[in-house]
Symmetry: C2
Subunit: 348 residues, 2 copies
């Protein structure tokens, strides 16, 4: 692998559609020429890429909220970096920009739309645009407040609670006066839930079946659950459904346990009927009109030191696949970010 940026564009291609957990053989590392921008386009020297569970869905052929990644195309990802070449006067070379690009050294993007300039000086780390100031933060904010609609005194159950989104959801729920119960894998993550993210109670899902999970939730939330922020699915979701209060809301954000297998599904839907409860899916695009107001409120909490957040940075484009897989094994602590380039633009 070359450490000579500017002369080549290393890219991670989707070679075949994964069955179950992706393996290295599903991808191909190639090196192409560095692209040049047409008029209205820019070329970004990618410094960081966001690695998200949703990317697993884009690797399948099934219809989703965006087209599947075509076989032979680079693996789609949100990236940030410096503009290396510009065909648009509002996007000068050297400025930081963000786009829905791919796992590659250089991404070509049409200026505007999802491709926007970002101000690296306005944030503690430019990577924050991939975490708390980006889709992750907005997902937690709008998913909890607009879909979960907690009121003070409610009990909010968060699955995947130590993850990038879940850790923020718990803290926002506390700010809103709720009791919070988080589910995560392993004693270290559970300690992090209560000690760092302020959860009132933490449940380790490991080695627990639906019945044991149900008992653990009942113990942690004896008055029942008013809101579930669901990131996981499967047994964990089944157990959560058994603890709903009347009129409860489930904000369905993700189903990470289901992405690499035939889904086991939600087998306690009957509880929705007997509790007059609902499950509602969402994407942050649903709240486009409110992004600014949400960002202002999140920003104020951050400025007041009321939100802790974590980023897990893995180094190097050649680590893309193992880093991505850590999302599914739970080996990450915080938002998973792949560093592609060093500050000076050399390969990380």
């Amino acid at each position: 692998m070359s450490a000579n940026p500017g002369s080549e564009n290393r890219r991670l291609l989707l070679h075949r559609r994964p069955e179950g957990i992706p393996t290295a053989a599903d991808f191909a590392h190639v090196s192409d020429a560095v692209p040049t921008p047409a008029e209205g386009e820019i070329v970004i020297r990618n410094h960081y890429a966001s690695l998200d569970p949703a990317m697993r869905g884009w690797m399948d052929a099934a219809p989703s909220y965006m087209p599947p990644i075509a076989l032979g195309d680079a693996v789609r990802a949100t990236v940030i970096g410096r503009i290396a070449a510009s065909g648009h006067p509002d996007f000068p070379e050297g400025r930081w920009a963000m786009t829905l690009g791919a796992l590659e050294d250089y991404s070509v993007a049409a200026a505007g739309g999802f491709t926007q300039l970002i101000d690296a000086d306005a944030v503690p780390s430019v990577t924050n645009y991939l975490s708390v100031f980006g889709a992750v933060g907005l997902t937690a904010y709008f998913g909890l407040l607009r879909i979960g609609r907690p009121t003070p005194g409610d009990t909010v159950l968060v699955t995947g609670a130590a993850g990038a989104v879940g850790s923020l959801v718990g803290q926002i729920a506390k700010i809103k006066g709720c009791r919070t119960v988080g589910i995560a894998g392993g004693p270290e993550k559970c300690a992090r839930l209560t000690e760092r993210y302020g959860y009132d109670a933490a449940i380790d899902y490991r080695d627990k079946d639906v019945s044991a999970l149900d008992a653990a939730i009942r113990d942690a939330a004896p008055d029942g659950v008013d809101v579930i922020f669901e990131n996981v699915g499967g047994d964990i979701f089944d157990a959560g459904l058994l603890n709903l209060n009347e009129g409860a809301r489930v904000a369905l954000c993700g189903l990470i346990s289901e992405y690499n297998r035939e889904p086991v599904g939600a087998r306690n839907l009957w509880q929705l009927i007997v509790k007059s409860a609902r499950i509602e899916g969402f994407l942050i695009r649903d709240f486009l009109d409110e992004f600014a107001s949400g960002a202002v409120e999140m920003g104020s909490w951050l400025a007041d030191g009321r939100l802790a957040f974590d980023e897990h940075v893995e180094l190097g484009l050649d680590q893309a696949v193992p880093a991505f897989l850590k999302l599914f094994s739970g080996a990450n602590n915080g938002k998973m970010i792949l560093q592609i380039a060093n500050d000076d633009g050399s390969a990380a």
Copy 2:
């Protein structure tokens, strides 16, 4: 079995909790003394009982929206009949009344609450209080309009579409300007969907897996589905979820395919996320404040001949179990009602 009412109270008891499809051995026919009312109570000579899929849930030990039927108790059911003895001045003997009683000749009930007088002369048949003028009609009305929230031009998919609730849902959706697609079992029921209940398209679920059901729905609803009124669950629900439009609403009324087995669950929940769609459960108790206005509107459609409805009456308390099981085999056409007594009060 005696045909001598007044001298005994034949009752169908829950002998043990069914596993899977109930069998005759799960129940016991007994004959007790006819009860006498305490002050404030009435004794109803039951003429008709409503047989509903939800009763299967009451036979399980699992928590639900009402307590399980205790072993050794008579099988709970909504019943109508004439007051045989009264301990309450507002409930005179001989008047028709309705209560949540049981499958038995005589039910004791506290006057008031769910126990109400009904006016047999106000309806074509007193049995209508167990169908279109009862819980069935209100379930269809409020479930579709308040939970499904269709707007004119929407496509509404109804599962269990030939059933008591489903047949009304399709007609109400048509009245509201929607395109309706119904799913039912067998060519006769499908013919009934389009010819009698006005469905725009009918799908026979028999011998179709999820993929074939998906294709059939896509064919019948090429512009996608805005509202699902779900009565069935399992493969049929999985296929429906694959056809949701953005912002679609699923009114979850029942899961009849799941009641007699380990639930297979909803395995396409991912579609809720990518379509920003929701599943919402409900019980008609949620709309208690609106019962009167709903009944008025349903009544006006009935008076105008805009709603067809069907009742399937089986004769005799000794037929209770086989009649109940027809709900799950789909052998009924219309609201399943068990006739316990003839007009003169003799055993039916």
